[in-house]
Amino acid sequence: MSATTAVPAPALSLRPWLTAAIVWGLLLTVPFWLPLVGGYTALAARVLVMGLAAMSFNLLLGFTGQMSFGHAAYFGLGAYGAGLSLKYLAASTPLAMLMGVLLGGLAGTLFGLLIVRRRGVYFAMVTVAFGQIAFYIAYSWNSLTGGYDGLRGFVRAPINLGFTTVDIANNDIAFYYFLLVVFGIAVGLLGLLLASPFGRTLLAIRENERRARFLGIPIERHIWLSFSISCAFTALAGSLYALLNNFADPMGLHYSLSGEIVIMAVMGGMRAFWGPLVGAALFVVVQDYISSMTVNWMSFVGLIFVLVVLFFPRGLLGMLQGRGSQ
């Protein structure tokens, strides 16, 4: 956090509120301005979902300093959990989300036990391999998951609030605001978590693990908790993704999606709270545009990775912050 301690005190107290106000202002008014610039509501919904996944992932990368390259697994497990619940248990959207979070969160908690002692690229390598286990199961358990073709045959159900019913199944705009509410709650929880003593301890581990250990902080337990929480929130994003598409497919568990989640966090700015959301917005929009323009979209996506790493390693918000503090 040495970069932010150099920031003068007034800027430090004002800036987060200003950023949050801009972000929420833009998100709340999406259905009004997005069609004017040629977008469509489903695209904004995808930005929210991927943004939530990237922000959840960033709890681990940006704020704990550990790099998971297998987060697509928990995203995909969330999607399958929600889809299977809607298909086989009950036509209830909240239940589907709960099952998705449970499936992804528990898998993350269990795997987390095996990897907390690893660091750096080895942490990444084991998380990739674990991620592929989930991919492999979804891919080959044909009778349950639909295998290669993905899980179909479920639709999101309207939300019953007691006094009224919100028809998220047919009304795209209603569904967008439903996503925004869930996103807001999840992001609020993540923000509270980071501001709590637990969150501060994670920052201490990121900055200097050895010193934190000397202070008596149980490092492994903190990393494990951070990993599990991050996985649970990523699974929530995954369950929203299943609701958005009424579909869950094995590519949602593949490690190429893990890489995309990482690049979203990095290109938006992994040290900034809102960075991953900005990165997700950029990535989703650019990918949508490129894949409609050319069949060779993979080259362009790869080029985004290379350019971001070589020339913009601090990400968009990271560069803005850096300029502001000087």
Binding site: L114, A129, Y136, V262, I263, V309
Partner: protein
Amino acid sequence: MLQLVLFNVTNGLIIGAFYVLMALGLSLILNLSNVINFAHGNFLALGGYIAFVLTPYIGFWGALLVAPILTAVLGFVVERLMIRRVYSRDPVYSLLLTFGLAFIIQDVCRYIWGPNGLPMTVPDVLAQPLSQNLFFITGYRVFMVAVVIIAVAGLFAFLRFTRVGIRIRAGTLDLDTVAALGVNVGLLRSLNFAVGCLLAGLAGVLAAGQIGLNPNMGDDVLMPSFIAIIVGGVGSLTGTLLGGLLIGVAGALTTIVWPAASEAVIYVIMLVVLVVRPRGLMGEEGMLT
């Protein structure tokens, strides 16, 4: 039954040999430069395609020799131009960089040679079965295993007896000291990366003769190669060698009793190793933490 077991052990050894070639290259790069090369499978594909292009001019035997070297040259250039720039940064950047490169190389292969599979012919000498009874042991399969054995023996000899090889091993243990002794560490890392790509390219040529060519032919080998490294133990090339053979043969033997689980058994082995012996079969204590 004996024939079936032999058939699957042969298959397993061949698949394992590919894992070994890939995993040894990955392991070399990982140990010295702390980089996971996600594009390694794409260097395998490049090796195969280069051989495909060269075969009409210099024949299969010439391509077998030249294609891996050209792959290594490409790897050297990629390392010099890009990967070298991120060594001093957080490891997340090297991962993202090789990840992006994997996308680009795969797409370029698809653009140049098309999305569909291409056949690659091997000399008639190698295509014949060696005996009527053991029809599955074609000359080509024996040849592949022989080439892999020679390549692995060559690699270990290179690391043990040549100056560059000794420096690579020393750098794996303590790069700062090696640099302080006056070794050009940047060049050493580039050469090491090139050696890794050489092995991938060789695997590509051999695989092309067996299963043909397609743009994502390396993808199926990448993940088992990671697992071979984890199972064998990070930091130990001998461990990687054993890990690759182990998961190759285990996968093939599972095919006899339960074909659907042949891939699952690889992951099960990894989980068992991680629970029972986290540092891997031959890994050094403390290498992972």
